[in-house]
Symmetry: D2
Subunit: 286 residues, 4 copies
């Protein structure tokens, strides 16, 4: 593609659909002023993290012990620390440079632009901040604690819960689905190799509904292993790569059992230049 | 202090003053639906970072080059990466465990609880998410590009700008001050050893105004070096330690020259258990 | 202790016993000129590592993929990388600052000197390089593949093997014992919580033999769990802390089944200032 | 190249020339039994490191402060730590995968084998341990403290010093040259962008002399900037890539002013699988 065409592709992707009306709709969803973070705890040496990723490491470089053994003259002291974290190693938002098919990423931008020095285009810094309405729905049916490994989310089930709650998706909304995987992982019932989530039959509904963002309390939003034998993450290709829909993964959705609710969602991805994702703590106001 | 007393101290500190009315006030400050991140870019090997801290490092563990030299059979591939960052090494919010005086942190909690394994109390995970009104004021007077090193912000100047804009601080608000230091640093005019900011004469005004959060586009919000010869960061002691006022530092306030404006601020600190701060990208809606 | 006394304590510890005669003895042990590294492979994300430690991480920051997608004009290119490793996270030598009892390390030096900024005394940089004779003995009796968890090495067995080989320990020698734990770990038969090794009954023999260094193919040289209910690592206290005997752990002793051999050992610990250990690849010439 | 041919290329490169006779020669060079490490200190946050590399970071994860604020019941405690280091970020040996020309590395092996997961061939783990004779020569003439930036080492000067000392290079030897750059860097007189070292006119002499290893107290052994406008490191191409000569860089050669001496050198590169170099502390016995 020509340099001119390439510069015309916006890294906002489907986030561009979040206009003033969408933000107004988000604010209108606020009623009780309850504020909730959907970010998982980040603990030194602990997961959950996906395959080939290592858990975060948290290094203290100054602490109370230092102050105790070498007290400051005037009584003041402080602590300081360093974090090592896979950008996908806790609650995070994928950048549009995260996946590609046949050599091109979203908007036809070549994957060759993603090198050891980071992504020259579509890094997470191009996502920008997000304020929009989120619909949070429990996709686990029938009082079970979690979906099985590779159990598809039923779109009909999700739609019926939304209908019952009087909630209709609108262009620019976010959809967060509870699959129970984080709970299954914590309970030792499932591991980082498989989980329930969206299957390819959900693609059309996600697009028709106009969701700018989809998220879940698992590693991929879509289920794993996938039903497509030729691609491990077909929804990443058909939604993120083909349409710029952003994915938010490893959400903390504890407490949303049985829920179908709306709130005002704010996402502040770190401006990590050229990164394939950003850890973040999504904030929802109900 | 007894274990009972200690468990009664809330890590929310002054954030507890942000009630439903404060959130409603934040939402009322929204008019144009412009959404802005105040997070600085995070670039591999680049600052600004404070003394004794190293710049962030960004490691790609899978990229387009890998896919080019070993193409996948079905054309799908992806990128992945890891971030190493001082928690205070870009735009961030300090935890209440970050500073102490005479062995005790906020609420009288002993600094001995902060060890190489992190803070057992008052880590950033205790801050929780924040939605409140923010007042953003340019503290650099007279068309100058930035404050001098160790130049105190004039409280009178800030108040007059707020007055002129018809803005009155209310309990639970955040105050973000533009000092120009990030610009001075980028221009090579100042370094990580000194900057303009709040001086001790601002303490009473901050407390009387009821600010839950103060922030600036410099390393410490307060000026450096400090005017107090016995303490490098007296405002951290008198505001964060004594009153639980949260500090947000290294803000990106480019574009706020001459400003005195209000907006809806959302902070989603990462839930890094036991950490002394969290990198974050504050999101403001105007 | 006074500053004067403290500066008199040598960080070489028992290595000070390695004199010219000991080096001459090491060289005299060389016969076939076979050179062997006893350093385990260091692989990204893989152990073995001890409890509370994370596996090494290896980050490529420039590689062949980068060169493939953005070829250099004149055809030259290169690769580069970064290593994150616990200093005890592969084959390594403990520093004398690694352990203490009742607040003091080797030579009576206070443990308070070991802070978040590293050890002000007895860091691994004080060990210096080592050339001495090593006796390598298979401590696993009777054709078994490895010692059981918490199975003590029999000093009688080791001595009889040495006797049979005509080898008598001399002051300044190193002793490396094969316990088989690395093999047991690789086979999934034992984990990072227990292994066979020296028990407290070996302390007198080690000291009387004049060993400056003891090593093994397990995490602690001494067995785990220990037979002493009050101390997890009694030999570290009685040998390293009390007498400055250096410990080399996680050796690669594959191929030494049934062996009792001598060689010339060279250790080049990295000069990591203030570190509690150094990864290294011991080199033996037979 | 075919898989068969590729597997025939030895990662030892020119180290294969170090035979029993070479090791015997190394041992014969020992006279005073003085043992010396040539590894630079590794200090948290300090260089020297080359362009685009960050200084090492040293994190304490357990220390005397922790023990002071939470004493163990039976008085035993310990320290532990983690090291982050560019493999070329202190004294180190380059792997044969470090450089290539026109897409191929040493032995014609494709650079495509070097990806984000490391080098599948010619990683530092293929170097193996080294014991050989080293000739250490001060290449700074005339009592000056260091070579100028881009000042070529005079081969005639080096040869005349060796001649005067009665030392003749033999096949398999190592050559370590003092350029003074580490001193110039410490003095603030030169930076990481330039130094004196070998120029292309030294290539033939190095090859004819049969050196398996060349080293220096600068970042590249060869001088920088190079005299070749089409290649930043022509000696890396013509010696390491074309002939498998190993490079050891950032040596600590303090004390070798005016020297032309021989000793027994031992190199124990860490077995970092797929790495482009290994930090190490070369050990010389005189």
């Amino acid at each position: 593609m020509s340099a001119d065409l390439m510069s015309e592709v916006s890294g906002r992707g489907a986030l561009a659909n979040i206009d003033g009306a969408a933000i107004k709709r988000a604010m209108a969803a606020v009623s009780t002023f309850e504020v909730r973070s959907l970010g998982l705890p980040i603990r030194n040496g602990e997961g959950p993290v996906g395959p080939r990723r290592q858990p975060p490491q948290h290094f203290m470089v100054r602490d109370g012990g230092d102050a105790a053994v070498a007290p400051a003259r005037h009584g003041f002291s402080f602590s300081d620390d360093v974090l090592l974290i896979p950008t996908h190693g806790t609650t995070h938002m994928d950048a549009l440079c995260h996946v590609w098919q046949d050599g091109t990423m979203y908007g036809g931008i070549p994957a060759d632009l993603v090198t050891s020095r980071g992504a020259k285009r579509l890094g997470i810094e191009e996502a920008g901040p997000v304020v929009t309405r989120v619909l949070i729905v429990d996709a686990v049916p029938g009082g079970r604690p979690w979906l099985d490994v590779a159990e598809p989310v039923s779109v009909d089930h999700v739609r019926s819960l939304l209908d019952a709650a009087g909630l209709a998706p609108e262009r620019g909304d976010a959809l967060f689905l509870r699959t129970g995987w984080v709970d299954a992982w914590a309970a030792g019932a499932q591991n980082q190799l498989g989980w329930g989530g969206l299957d390819v039959d959900a693609v059309d509904w996600v697009l028709e509904s106009g969701f700018s963002i989809i998220g879940a309390d698992n590693i991929g939003v879509e289920m794993a292993p996938a039903s497509d034998p030729t691609c491990a993450v077909p929804l990443h290709v058909r939604l993120l790569r083909d349409h710029g829909v952003y994915f938010v993964e490893l959400l903390d959705l504890a407490g949303f059992e049985g829920a179908a609710v709306a709130g005002m969602l704010t996402l502040g991805p770190l401006n990590i230049v050229g990164a394939t994702a950003s850890p973040l703590a999504p904030v929802v106001v109900f």
